[in-house]
Amino acid sequence: MAQALKRTPLYELHCELGAKLTEFAGYEMPVQYSLGILGEHQHTRTKAGLFDVSHMGQITLRGSSYQETALALEKAIPMDVLGLKVGRQRYGFLTTDGGGILDDLMFSNREDHIFVVLNAACKDSDIVHLRTLLEPEISIEVIENRALIALQGPASETVLSEFNSQISAMKFMDIETLSIAGAECWISRSGYTGEDGFEISIPSSAAEAITRSILSKQEVEFVGLGARDSLRLEAGLCLYGHDIDEETTPVEASLTWAIQKARRTNGERANGFLGDKIITQQLDMGTYRKRVGFLPQTRAPMREGVEIYETESSKEVIGKITSGGYGPTVGHPVAMGYINSEYEDSNDNLFGELRGKRVPVKIAKLPFVPLNFKR
């Protein structure tokens, strides 16, 4: 028998507000509300969208000091954890022995511990992996009594400031504990849409009430996973299991910006993470393929799995789309995927095979929309 789907603390609110629900990573999650995917996408880019991301994994890592915890986590991720200042967050990824990506994540320095947010589909295996690597010196606590919501879009700051005036002082990737309607919330100025915004970890018992109050603001609409996908795609952000996985390295995935100097060749703490040999070698020597943006040259969307060829008749597959669809803000189909490195800077028409027909597509710079972070 199939396992019962899990629900977030906001499940009943989703139902009440007419969400269309779908299974995602073992959870019953809203794919869209009555506004529809296009409307929710546009609303997030122009005003503010509220997302329930409580299915994501929230964990804390605690050693005898931040330093000890940071050095331990550096065995699992090729990021500079030690150099991260108190109250700051970074994007990172767990690597495999072979240099692939086990999951991507956010981690932050919370002074006496590290707070990590993991993808829903990977969280159980990530936790096992981290326990194996870090215990017993580091204790890992899985936070099961907190919801996680994200408020994204240009109006986010104005909206959230009404609940706590300290919000405005936060910069992109700051994280703080602030009170919202009397509840202790862990708030970071971050998100996964390319817009300014906040991710808010709320005690489950207060989640519905706070979500309702935020939704009651005129600028805010509830947004489902459908628009979350088109928003992150336009912003050039990877979806784990599609654009990155255990078979793709961070260098191939064009995520080298997330590997700080301290962890690279000649850095103070170079190597010392899983897959370091392969990743360091690729950082220094390059890779055979690269993640790039693709801009289809007709109105036909190119979705995951579409193969890329050099010409209308060439036989050799030179790339593959890993995420693609219509970009509502761009007003045109957009996609990302992998291409043989020799074509990485090509300005020529390449061809994607759509239903047996070769359709022109060009390599494009990511992101497809300007990133509106408040740095």
Partner: protein, 119 residues
């Protein structure tokens, strides 16, 4: 008007049959962003894939409901695919065909039968 299990509607106008998708189908698809129509003048067999519709969510096909010739396509949908959501039962017809065996139309559901199927 007749209806198929694939959520198409068929409206007979003399020797010609106009084909579109139902309101129910357009709602299920979500916002339509791309429509690929067949060439005018081609001969098709029942169940051939003749139209591709892409919504923000996914791509789906429309099958030829009858054997016959595609005599006209609704070019306006290529430029304004959102019409499929706005007026699926009217302005957003996909193609007109001349069936080689007009009696095939009678095999399909009445409006009542279709409404039962989707209820």
């Amino acid at each position: 008007m007749k209806f198929t299990e694939e959520h198409e509607w068929l409206r007979t106008e003399g020797e010609i049959v106009v084909v579109g998708i139902t309101e129910h189908a357009s709602t299920q698809l979500g916002d339509v962003v791309f429509v690929e129509l067949p060439d005018e003048g081609i001969t098709v067999s029942k169940d051939d894939e003749v139209v591709v519709i892409e919504s923000v969510k996914a791509a789906s096909d429309i099958l030829a409901p009858l054997d016959g010739e595609i005599i006209e396509i609704n070019e306006a949908l290529s430029d304004e695919p959102s019409k499929v959501n706005e007026d699926p039962m009217g302005e957003a017809w996909f193609f007109k065909m001349k069936p080689s065996d007009p009696s095939q139309v009678e095999d399909y559901m009445t409006e009542d039968e279709y409404n039962k199927l989707i209820s």
